[in-house]
Symmetry: C2
Subunit: 278 residues, 2 copies
């Protein structure tokens, strides 16, 4: 692991790191915020994993979400990985579209060529990355949660529902909740996983929660002025599945907010305190 | 004036606007954060003008500084203009350097060709822009302050010292305080104002405060790990001039912080409350 940058922020340290990932077979970057040791001691600390949305890297969250202030107060580590494998050898959308390929890994393990060699974000996030984090940083692997935005909300929901003992708490901003039913997800899944839709349910939060509700109360914030709400997000699908299966869900429709980091920043403090209390 | 974007943020609205500027003889963009009317009423509100540093546009502050949360709480409008004139007709540094020309207007009125046609940021900020803001938004022109970062800290200090009745409060993050004595300022001033250095003192905070200290207590935060501290910033020059002239100054050296928006965000709340209390 190599430290790329380390910047003081709210008394703590916002770092960016790179390493050679076995799961993704390429160099990967991720960001880690460490709270101030002089107020919180040497750790180990609880940690939250943040999964970003389409087109993002590890940089968007750390510059725009305004999470460091409250994380420093609460003594939380926040890990923000990249959204896909990267590098010259990693194939991208043949048309360079924003919603598939680089910046759009969808937090799954691809099974189809040519994507399956590098697009292993699910294995990376549930195995290799937490192991590296717990080895290199004073993080308590038994007190981890996960949250994210849009495509990263989909990632957070599915990874929590499949690994509730590892990622014990879960929240999301404007998540994709039923990827098999919306254009972003159908494009990505048909390429990464193939056209047999029975294989898609392993990465579909609405399908997963219908069978295996998790133990945590899930928090979702969704802006009513979100330009992707009706076509791509449709949180009511997830809410209905939660109600049917007994999954505890707090879905808050936030009047007038859109899909941007202005929305995320406005409710970031709520989410950090939500995870911390649990 | 044209509204380019309007995004809900912490209950208020973060807008970006454009207009045809007479002072700069080009189209100019600026950002305005309006606090939530449902908690603060219809106004008029006090306003703070934020001046950004080299390479920035109106976008850096509104995405990275995390100011909206506290501005929404306090009922403050924040106006963040661009850092230079823009457009195809506006000349740039012949080598495309980051520290002169586009993104580097230095908040002065250029007198030398070819810069003098468009580079009139001082007139723009002290005349045209506040007049437009007070016409188009519920802003109280008698309750305005100014603050900024680096080159924008230089702008805030000089504009406050020359216009203390208009911009009544002033603070800065890692400002250029003696442009005539450091490489950034000497390059810009010799091009914009010519080689007669007696003309430079009109835009030199350390020279200005030696003659005309202002009524307000000025707040400056400076990171000790700032890579530009020794060569370009040198706040001790300004502190010495303030002490000699009786200018009230609160200079805080912040241990371990650098020149970035991570530093700015860490102390943004302090600055907003500082202005609001005054």
């Amino acid at each position: 692991m190599k430290q790329e940058t380390a910047t003081k922020s709210f008394g703590g340290t916002q770092g960016v790191y790179s390493h050679s990932s076995k799961a993704c077979d390429c160099d990967m970057r991720f960001a880690v915020f460490m709270p101030p040791a002089d107020t919180h001691g040497p750790g180990p600390y609880p940690a939250l994993y943040w999964l970003s949305g389409l087109t993002c890297t590890e940089d968007n969250f750390i510059t725009k979400a305004g999470a460091q202030r409250v994380a420093a107060e609460l003594g939380l580590v926040i890990v923000a990985p990249d959204t896909s494998p990267r590098g010259e050898r990693v194939p991208d959308d043949p048309d360079g579209a924003y919603d598939f390929g680089l910046g759009a890994g969808f937090y799954l393990d691809a099974t189809e060529e040519p994507w399956s060699k590098h697009y292993k974000m699910y294995s990376y996030l549930t195995g290799e990355l937490p192991a590296l984090i717990e080895k290199e940083f004073p993080v308590d692997g038994n007190r981890c949660g996960i949250f994210g935005h849009s495509m990263g909300g989909h990632g957070a929901l599915t990874i929590h529902l499949k690994n509730p003992d590892k990622f014990k708490t879960c929240s999301a901003f404007s998540p994709i909740v039923a990827p098999g039913e919306v254009p972003w997800g159908r494009k990505a899944f048909s390429n990464y996983l193939g056209t047999d839709e029975t294989k898609w349910v392993a990465y579909d939060a609405t399908a997963l929660v219908a069978k295996n509700p998790g133990p945590a109360d899930i928090l979702i914030d969704q802006g009513t002025a979100d330009q992707f709400l009706e076509e791509q997000l449709q949180p009511a699908r997830f809410a209905a599945a939660c109600q049917a299966s007994g999954q505890s869900l707090t879905l808050r429709m936030q009047d007038g907010y859109d899909h941007s980091y202005y929305f995320i920043a406005s409710f970031m403090e709520d989410h950090l305190r939500w995870h911390h209390e649990r």
